[in-house]
């Protein structure tokens, strides 16, 4: 005969059942810590701390979506644009400012709305026939982006096209909407595309994206915010290279230098290369162009080369060379270079002058 008290067995069974039930139906709570949304330049930590982690994650996605669009607008190149910001008072403001910082924009703290690139934003809730919809707006100077998003469970999805105003250059913009698919969904669908100044552009592709439960990625496999911005920037430069190929027959070579990157992965130019670019740019004048030859791959799809070329183009932009005056040349195989070759990597920079 057992000496176990009679109340122990049911209690144990209950506890085990409770424990197992907790683990078999885990609360898949998406969330980000407050630090992930905290801008380095200025913040109000209490605002973020009081907000639910899931809401922070949703706002981070919305901010990422808006900023990945902004970096593709030619007037808003992160390498040349410095934005004026005030201390954010809301979680959305924190998420936006942090995303702007991580996208590479220069940020200047101002006390009011000083500056031609002053950043303002708003979040407006609407009750519609299809439920509650939140309209997020971001304005930088005269450029404004706005889009509606809807919350479904722990996930957030766009519920309108991205409306872009204040610029004519929206034809080549690719929205970073895949980040919403990674949340997964139960047969959810959302519209993806951009419209300019409130009017649909026939050149723009508008599609409906379906989200299924099998689309859901584990949190650690989802695209990182910095990669979303890097891809958006790279896309811009690739399209820019195709769009603005100059007619080199109208130009003559003037000067040339070969920058050496320490290895095939680094983006660090080093002080010597920076000095050479500075000296070369010293003689740049309005009608000149700079051609960057970085790609030595045989198949023309060398991403590492493209990254180095973009790095040099950004350096030129930082020194005052307009983006339209520097051109990343297509891949041209000059020598055999194996993909695993990590030796110093050359980038040729040629200064052309009109004939």
């Amino acid at each position: 005969m057992s000496t176990v008290p009679v109340f122990i067995r049911p209690a144990a069974a209950l506890l085990v059942a409770f424990a197992l039930s907790a683990c078999t139906t885990p609360e898949v709570k998406v969330g980000v810590p407050p630090e992930a949304l905290t801008p380095r330049i200025t913040s109000k930590p209490s605002v973020l701390a009081e907000t639910d982690a899931t809401e922070r994650a949703q706002l981070q996605l919305v901010a990422t979506n808006l900023i990945a669009t902004l970096v593709q607008i030619p007037e808003m190149r992160p390498s040349t644009a410095t934005l004026q910001v005030s201390t954010p008072q809301t979680v959305f403001g924190h998420a936006l400012l942090r995303a702007l910082e991580d996208a590479g924009f220069g940020m200047q703290l101002v006390s009011a709305d000083q500056g031609k690139n002053y950043v303002s934003y708003s979040k407006r809730l609407s009750e519609t026939e299809s439920g509650e919809v939140t309209d997020y707006t971001l304005a930088v100077g005269r450029i404004e982006l706005s889009r509606e998003y809807v919350v479904n469970g722990d996930a957030v999805y766009p519920s309108s096209l991205m409306n872009i105003s204040g610029t004519d250059s929206i034809a080549d913009i690719s929205l970073a909407d895949d980040i919403f698919i990674e949340q997964g969904g139960d047969g959810t669908a959302f519209i993806s595309g951009a419209i300019g100044n409130g009017a649909a552009n026939p050149d723009l592709q508008i599609v409906t994206l379906d989200v299924n439960d099998f689309d859901e990625l584990p949190q650690d496999k989802r695209t990182r915010q910095d990669l979303v911005f890097a891809e958006a920037r790279q896309r811009f430069f690739e399209k820019d290279a195709k769009r603005s190929a100059p007619d080199l027959a109208r130009y003559g070579k003037f000067r040339r230098t070969v920058l050496i990157f320490d290895d095939s992965t680094t983006q660090m130019m080093g002080a010597s290369n920076k000095l050479a670019v500075r000296l070369l740019v010293r003689e740049f004048s309005g009608d000149d162009i700079m051609v960057i030859k970085a790609c030595q791959a045989a198949d023309g799809t060398d991403n590492a080369s493209m990254t180095r070329a973009i790095r040099v183009k950004e350096e030129l932009a930082g020194l005052g060379v307009p983006t339209k005056s520097s051109y990343i040349a297509p891949c041209a195989r000059t020598s055999y270079r194996h993909a695993s070759d990590n030796s110093p990597t050359p980038v040729e920079l040629i200064h052309y002058r009109p004939n």
């Binding site: 085990v16 907790a22 994650a57």
Partner: protein, 362 residues
């Protein structure tokens, strides 16, 4: 005793069940809490370091901030910092720059014309610690030594050394609870040349079609048509005439001063007199934004192995270094050469450097 053992054995299932009751929920909670902490949305870089910056370093970096704000207009300037760098000293320095009104751009590598970095070297001699700080903002370098006579107290141990700028600065060495001034004569700035990266700088070739034509037409035994100047930029030999290699740069400038620095025969030694002439030029005539063009010359017979080319460009380099040593940024010095084994007549001196000061049209 035996009874006691038997009692324990009889109660074992009870204890086991009770232990399970405690352990399973604990384990479950532990496991579930682990899952929670692994969850996150989009991942971002780490936030700035929370480490505390020593008072001594704060005082020094405040000093540096004061100089930076005099060299770069805060409202119009964006500075670049590497976002992967969570060094607390740099974070503190950036905070001071933000509060001064600068725009801050976080970059993935060393992008930007005003990329900010610093170097801190500590040395100890005669029981006194000396900290050497060098702050780099683009092409400008700001350096100063500080001694630490007592805990949390610093004293300037050198003047401010500035490179890459001729902007005048006021050194505000006001004594405070964190700073003492033992030698008021150190409260000033001096200019020097930062030549650390000259050797590694890549060559900039001149590839104009005219040059290519002239190279193909040149005689085999005549003086060379082009060579590298002190910035490793290929320049034309002006003995053959033609305009300056940098003429396009001077389109919007007018010449406001010209002088010739004369060297000894087969010599690249500047000498006190020439140094004094360069001092006068820099101190009394040069203004920020001016450009100095100089042509080093060696026209006539020479017994040196480096020949006329080496001598001419060596003289130009020597004067360039003297100008950089006085704080003029390399971008504002255009050095070229004129060399031949025969006289260039009135066009260029036989053994001198022609200096011209150019100022942007109003």
């Amino acid at each position: 005793m035996t009874q006691s053992v038997d009692d324990t054995a009889g109660r074992r299932p009870w204890f086991t069940t009770a232990r399970l009751c405690i352990l399973i929920p604990l384990f479950s909670i532990g496991a579930c809490s682990t899952m929670d902490s692994a969850e996150s949305g989009l991942q971002t870089g780490t936030f700035g370091s929370e480490e505390r910056v020593e008072t001594v370093d704060q005082t020094i970096l405040d000093d540096m901030t004061d100089i930076v704000t005099q060299l770069f207009e805060p409202i119009d300037t964006t500075l670049q910092v590497n976002y992967a760098n969570n060094d607390p000293l740099l974070q503190y320095f950036i905070d001071q720059l933000v509060n001064s009104g600068y725009g801050i751009q976080r970059v993935s590598a060393d992008q930007g014309a005003n990329y900010v970095s610093y170097r801190r070297d500590l040395s100890k001699a005669d029981g006194t610690s000396t900290i050497n700080y060098r702050v780099f903002v683009g092409a400008v370098e700001i350096a100063r030594d500080y001694s630490v006579p007592r805990m949390n107290i610093v004293a300037p141990a050198s003047v401010f050394r500035l490179s890459g700028t001729r902007e005048s600065v006021t050194v505000n060495d006001r004594p405070s609870g964190r700073k003492i001034v033992t030698d008021p004569s150190l409260s000033q700035a001096q200019y020097f040349a930062s030549l650390q990266l000259d050797e590694q700088a890549p060559v900039i070739s001149l590839i104009t079609p005219q040059l290519v034509e002239r190279v193909s037409a040149r005689s085999a035994d005549g003086p060379s048509l082009q060579a590298l100047n002190s910035s490793k930029i290929e320049v034309n030999n002006l003995f053959y005439g033609g305009g300056s290699t940098f003429s396009s740069l001077l389109d919007n400038y007018q010449r406001v001063h010209k002088q010739v620095i004369v060297f000894g025969n087969d010599s690249m030694v500047l000498g006190d007199t020439n140094k004094s002439l360069i001092d006068q030029l820099v101190d009394s005539k040069f203004r920020n934004g001016d450009i100095i063009s100089l042509v080093g010359c060696s026209n006539g017979a020479t017994s040196l192995d480096i020949g006329n080319e080496g001598l001419a460009l060596g003289r130009a380099k020597r004067v360039t270094e003297a100008l950089l040593n006085r704080g003029i940024a390399r971008e504002y010095v255009l050095d070229e050469g004129c060399w031949a084994p025969v006289s260039a007549g009135d066009a260029f001196p036989s053994r001198g450097v022609v200096l011209e000061l150019w100022r942007e049209n109003a």
